[in-house]
């Protein structure tokens, strides 16, 4: 069986993903292009008994003059002779409603000498715009086989498969004539880089900077260009103008615009409403409201089921495996950590359902459009809005969704400040602490005081993230040209298949990528709280054996007290006491110290840890018992309640700012591929939390 390598190439928003999904189905794999964080999607499908295809989805680009990492990958995939995935055939997909701009990239790809199959997509949309093509003539002028497709309705895929077998090089002369360029220089470049195609030498000359990691080779190449007085920008401009002149001539001959097309399209009418000064913003707020409601209310049901399911499973496992350390490790270490990961799947799935759906229909481009100016004043970009909002559910998928931001610096700043948005894991912590701060009273008869403070915490997080972004922007030097040039694709009917495939892919990568690290740290935390320095547990056991002989308290209460003292004696307890001097200025004692350490697994663990430490009974959703125990505690030094207003406020602020989420750190590392920035994120958030808590505590004391 012969394998044909096919590269799928096209502009962004032309239906490339839909076509890829239609051709491959679930037969696809996402990895990273070597040396980059760009997703590499590769898939397989069979044409007939003798031929199968390996298809690689190259990132969408408008030309082969790459300006972002994504576009550089596409360039490398087509022009780098050392690339192992150099295609045998290029499957080019173009948006028929907007063919002119799409043809620029096509003429470049054709001039590289690849056999091309041309999928002319969105013909229905072109038809609605009143654009008609003479396919035979267009085929003749472009010199390749053209297959009209509708990737959303999966039309034309069989023809594409057959065309891949018979694909040939464009039978026309090159679209851009390189004979007017400096021939000796191009020959020298070709020899130096080992290229066969002249136009690829031209492209290498233009893109020298981006692509050689090898310093010596780049130096030699630059010398050739400098010796020949090569002027990059000027030649690029001339080439684009010349190509468009050619394209204009071809389109004039082969396409026809019906006069009826002057009426305003539905998409344009929608835009007039959605980007409207007042209505546009209100609509955006409404969309946010719906997403929030869905994440908080809808996700809670499957989350409860999954938690119950995991508990049931853990209990089952606990009974099957013989007791002892192994049993304890599996149940309280690995399975507890695993369920911490799995419980977040519904929220991630719902969040990505909305994000992918809104992206697919074209609304996200409008959100970036209407919010760009506001975000820009804080060093962010219109495209930062969606990740920031997602951060209120969970920072992990939020950071993943920051990928769409092309400008590297704005993407980095967005990732850096996302953890400041109050995520759902902080909710149980806030609820407990706020209930200790104020009783359930109403202002003006209807405003719930606790609810107001809770809202205040969300606002605090949002404002702090914008201010931090502003500071980052001031510190970092602007990287390159800061343009905002973005296509606003026409509104489309959603393609559910794409939406669900994306959700599947995001959840899968969350469970496997972040999951590995979460489980590892859960095991570590389990070990810290299950083991103690030699002899400590034995002493404790002896003490309780004695107490059991002459019980002063009911056995149940003794058992809880035993758990509490055991935690104190464990390594985690020792760590808590060890960090007490550091956190004492914030008003925290060693008990809070333990909770801070265990919170690093996930913030909501705070409540569970406090429950264990204060030997409170009742489950986590019932705060009344733990609340009373905490409020009864007296500070031995001052004789005042331990949890004064100052301590509670200080704790609240600490939880709002501190980087206590290893999953977030893991995903930051994965997305930035930089240990430096991961540590900077950890450091600045910890310092911010510490200083803010210090100030709050001393101000209120």
């Amino acid at each position: 069986m012969k394998e044909i390598k096919v590269a799928l190439v096209g502009n962004p928003n032309c239906g490339k993903t839909s076509l890829f999904n239609t051709l491959t189905g679930l037969n696809q794999k996402v990895s990273n292009f070597p040396g980059t964080t760009v997703d590499k999607k590769a898939g397989h499908f069979a044409i007939d008994a003798e031929h199968k295809v390996k298809i690689i989805d190259l990132p969408g680009t408008y030309s082969l003059y790459p300006k972002s990492d994504d576009e550089a990958v596409t360039f490398n995939g087509l022009c780098n002779p050392e690339n192992s995935d150099i295609p045998d055939v290029v499957l080019f997909i173009a948006d028929a409603s907007n063919l002119k701009r799409n043809l620029l990239l096509f003429t470049q790809v054709a001039d590289l000498g690849y056999p091309v199959v041309f999928a002319l997509n969105m013909i229905d949309l072109a038809d609605r715009k009143g654009i008609e093509y003479n396919y035979d003539l267009l085929q003749n002028r472009l010199g390749v086989e053209i297959i009209p497709t509708n990737a959303r309705k999966m039309k034309g895929t069989e023809k594409i498969k057959q065309a891949i077998l018979s694909a040939h090089r464009s039978s026309t002369a090159p679209f851009f004539d390189t004979s007017g360029l400096n021939q000796p220089m191009l020959e020298e470049c070709k020899k130096y880089l080992g290229l066969k195609n002249t136009y690829s030498a031209v492209l290498w000359a233009h893109n020298q900077m981006l692509l050689f990691k090898d310093g010596e080779r780049l130096k030699g190449f630059k010398e050739i260009l400098a010796r020949n007085l090569f002027c990059e920008k000027k030649e690029q401009v001339e080439e684009i103008v010349s190509r468009y002149r050619m394209i204009d001539a071809i389109l004039k001959e082969t396409s026809n615009r019906r006069p009826s097309s002057n009426q305003i399209s539905l998409s344009n009418r929608l835009d007039n409403i959605i980007t409207h000064k007042y209505f546009g913003l209100s609509f955006f707020l409404l969309v946010l409201f719906v997403i929030f409601q869905a994440i908080f209310s809808l996700a809670s049901y499957p989350m409860d089921w999954m938690e119950a399911g995991m508990n049931y499973f853990s209990n089952g496992v606990a009974q099957i495996i013989p007791g002892g350390t192994i049993n304890n490790l599996i149940v309280h270490g690995i399975l507890a950590g695993l369920s911490g990961v799995i419980v977040f799947i519904p929220q991630i799935a719902i969040l990505f359902f909305f994000i992918t759906l809104l992206e697919d229909i074209g609304y996200m481009a409008r959100v970036s459009f209407i919010m760009d100016k506001l975000m820009r004043s804080f060093g962010l970009n219109g495209k930062s809005v969606v990740p920031l909002i997602s951060g209120m559910a969970c920072a992990v998928p939020a950071i993943m969704s920051a990928r769409n931001i092309e400008n590297k610096q704005e993407k980095l700043i967005t990732i850096m400040v996302i953890p400041l948005m109050s995520c759902s894991a902080r909710l149980p912590v806030y609820t407990l602490l706020i209930s200790m701060l104020v009783p359930e009273t109403y202002v003006w008869g209807f405003l719930n005081m606790q609810g107001l403070i809770l809202m205040g915490m969300y606002v605090l997080g949002f404002v702090t993230s914008l201010l931090s972004a502003w500071v980052f922007q001031k510190i970092l030097k602007p990287a390159g040209n800061n343009y905002f040039i973005m296509e606003m694709p026409a509104f489309k009917i959603p393609m559910w298949r794409n939406v669900f495939l994306t959700i599947y892919e995001k959840c899968r990568s969350f469970v496997f990528e972040a999951g590995k690290i979460i489980v590892a740290i859960s095991i570590l935390l389990w070990a810290l709280s299950s083991f103690a320095p030699a002899g400590e547990f034995e002493k404790l056991d002896a003490k309780y054996r004695e107490l059991a002989l002459a019980p002063t308290k009911p056995a149940e209460e003794l058992a809880i007290q035993y758990q509490s003292e055991k935690l104190e004696a464990s390594y985690a307890g020792h760590f808590g006491k060890m960090i007490e001097p550091v956190i004492a200025p914030l008003g925290f004692n060693w008990k809070i110290g333990i909770a801070l350490i265990t919170s690093f697994a996930a913030r909501e663990v705070f409540v569970g840890t406090m429950t264990t430490i204060y030997s409170a009974s009742g489950d986590e959703s019932d705060f009344s018992s733990i609340r009373l125990k905490m409020m009864e505690e007296i500070n031995p030094q001052t004789g005042q309640p331990q949890y004064s207003l100052a301590v509670i406020a200080s704790l609240l602020v600490f939880y709002a700012f501190a980087m206590q989420c290893m999953s977030t750190l893991a995903i930051t590392y994965r997305e930035t591929k930089s240990l430096k920035w991961t540590l900077i994120q950890l450091f600045y958030l910890t310092v911010l939390a510490y200083i803010s808590s210090l100030l709050v505590f001393h101000f209120l004391k």
Partner: protein, 78 residues
């Protein structure tokens, strides 16, 4: 006149783009001299703007529109 000064809904023709870096990017997106443009939408805070060019909609910021020289259609021709 400049594209940034063009009123919403009025057609004009691009004459040139002043900045070389920007012109590579805008040319590639189909904003070439001789091409018709029309401002379609203005974002709620006054910036960016969405224009129709080469048969599709493109968003650019005012600072970019400021570098694009245009000529308003006067009615001659077709």
């Amino acid at each position: 006149m400049k594209l940034s000064a063009l009123a919403k809904g009025i057609e004009a023709v691009i004459i040139s783009i002043e900045d070389e870096d920007l012109s590579v990017k805008l040319y590639e997106m189909g904003c070439l001299p001789g091409e018709r443009v029309k401002v379609e939408n203005i974002a709620p805070f006054g910036d960016p703007i969405a224009i129709t060019v080469s048969g599709y909609k493109l968003c650019i910021r005012q600072q970019e529109a400021d570098r694009v020289l245009i000529k308003q259609e006067t009615g001659e021709g077709n």
